[in-house]
């Protein structure tokens, strides 16, 4: 039974990763799961300098999901390289660093600093709905997305994954723009922009007013977009959006994802990542699937 998948030349022991921002840099959930079991740890977004993020409340709950407006709080690339990367490199898992920025230069500075490290891949966050500058501005417009993709590709020494926003009219068009500009892979979906109002207090549940919706509630949108993108581009896809178990993960793979990431469901079940891997193995055994790559995009 072979659970290996390959994305842009990088081999993963299995397709199960963590969605950026839901798993820190692995340390916290290392108390619950053996990080060696994971296909990859995808880190919280890393910027060129420390970002304080948004005011609280930053999180709110909604039916089958949650809203967050963390605002990409992060300690910056220098702390990441000094503290988080050495921690992650103790484990036999791939490391994908999520890179965020407010300007193209911000992104490039992080990409440059990661160039001669043992990081396996870069995931470029152009789809965070919770910061005013940069981020999603690059991810909702094909020209801006092409431009930043091309720039990053020029400077990156690792394969580049562009993380796409679902808050667009035509996800296939965005995917094609990223592919044409040189992206090695795509990850999707980031969160859907949402809002919650407390009717008794007559105020927004989040200090930021809007936040990103994640969790099982968004899975049907995510599966649809993965399917559309898989049918629009040739580069591999890492699928995410509400994945919490093997059935969810397999649904994304059958829709066309090569990798899958567990996000908000880590908060619901801190063992969700490893249980997803075990569930995939059990499914393969039961359904007599030799290689997991056989099911990628098998539903047309």
């Amino acid at each position: 039974m072979n659970t290996k998948v390959t994305i842009a030349g990088v081999e993963f022991k299995n397709p199960v990763m963590t969605a950026s921002g839901t798993f820190g840099s692995g340390m916290e959930y290392g108390e619950f799961v053996d990080l060696n079991r994971l296909g990859a740890v995808v880190t919280k977004g890393v910027a060129s300098y420390p970002w304080p993020g948004n005011p609280t409340p930053r999180v709110a709950e909604c039916y089958g999901g949650m809203l967050n407006a963390i605002g990409l709080q992060n300690p910056g690339i220098d702390v990441f390289l000094e503290r988080d990367l050495p921690f992650l490199k103790q484990f036999d898992t791939r490391v994908i660093v999520n890179v965020c920025g407010k300007t193209v230069e911000d992104y490039l500075e992080v990409v440059e600093k990661l160039g001669d490290t043992e990081v396996d891949m870069l995931e470029i966050n152009v789809s965070c709905p919770n910061v005013k500058e940069g981020a999603i501005a690059f991810g909702q417009n094909t020209c801006a997305l092409s431009e930043i993709t091309a720039q990053i590709k020029k400077h990156a020494r690792q394969p580049v994954i562009m993380k796409l926003s679902p808050n667009v009219t035509d996800i296939a068009e965005m995917a094609r723009a990223a592919e044409a500009a040189g992206a090695d892979a795509l990850s999707l979906i980031n969160t859907l922009t949402g809002m919650k109002i407390d009717i008794y207090k007559r105020q927004f549940a989040l200090a930021n007013k809007t936040g990103g919706l994640s969790g099982p509630a968004i899975k049907p949108v995510a599966v649809r977009m993965v399917y559309q993108v898989a049918n629009a581009v040739k580069i591999p896809i890492i699928g995410m959006g509400g994945i919490g178990n093997a059935e969810d993960a397999l649904e994304f793979m059958m829709a066309g994802a090569t990798g899958v990431a567990v996000g908000a469901m880590n908060f619901v079940n801190p063992y969700a990542t490893t249980q997803t891997i075990e569930g995939i193995e059990a499914f393969m055994e039961k359904e007599k699937i030799d290689s997991l790559t056989d099911i990628i995009g098998c539903v047309k």
């Binding site: 916290e28 959930y29 609280t56 999180v59 949650m66 300690p75 908060f267 079940n269």
Partner: protein, 258 residues
Amino acid sequence: MAGKKKEWAKVVSQKQLAEGIYDLWLETDLASQAGPGQFVGLYPRDKSILLPRPISICEADRQLNRLRLVYRLAGQGTKEFSTYKPGEETALLGILGNGFPLEAGIGKKVFLIGGGIGIPPMLQLAKELQAKKQILLGYRNDQLFLRDELAAQGEVFVATEDGSAGTRGNVMDIISEEGLGAEIIYACGPLPMLKAIKVYAAEKGIPAYLSLEERMACGVGACLGCVCKTRETDHHSHVNNARICTDGPVFLAEDLEL
């Protein structure tokens, strides 16, 4: 110390202590690691709401492996918890948070201050802290839940918003009315109370350990949902934000921007 876990806990008993205040005993191995000021995440079964509810530990019986949670009805999740009967199981995430530092208070004249649903963590603290304990409790009205149990652990002073018992007003009014003083403060309660305590402690030049609350998602320090503003750059975040769920919930007042 063993690591954090999500596991099943069995309901031992549940009763209502006051209007909207429930008293739940759970049997769980996690009890052996629990200290005063720490908390657990309780997961509702209702699948429309996914996140664990942070609830502070009121008592930890490490011999019998039992945790006591005294919580307030606040929404759909706690409403569900309040229906739990002995023998039922519930999923628990724990043990979370740093808890109150006992060493700092040993042998000293201390204030343990609890306001509203900030009262429950004071019980385990009072039981473990070897000190001259003055326990200041702020209630809404004369439904003085946990008062008698706390009175067995130290000298208790009560304030009520409606004046129906003890001092009319809040816990700060007790201090002035009774002319009390302390060398160190431990407190949990609503933000305005904590702010007042921070000011008082600064004036008196004494340390105050404050337990904070915030909307949480993961409860284990990964999501950065529940941060508070800190005076200095935080060692983990490298910005002026500390994580309430893991760096806290207990902070030294002078380290916080409230």
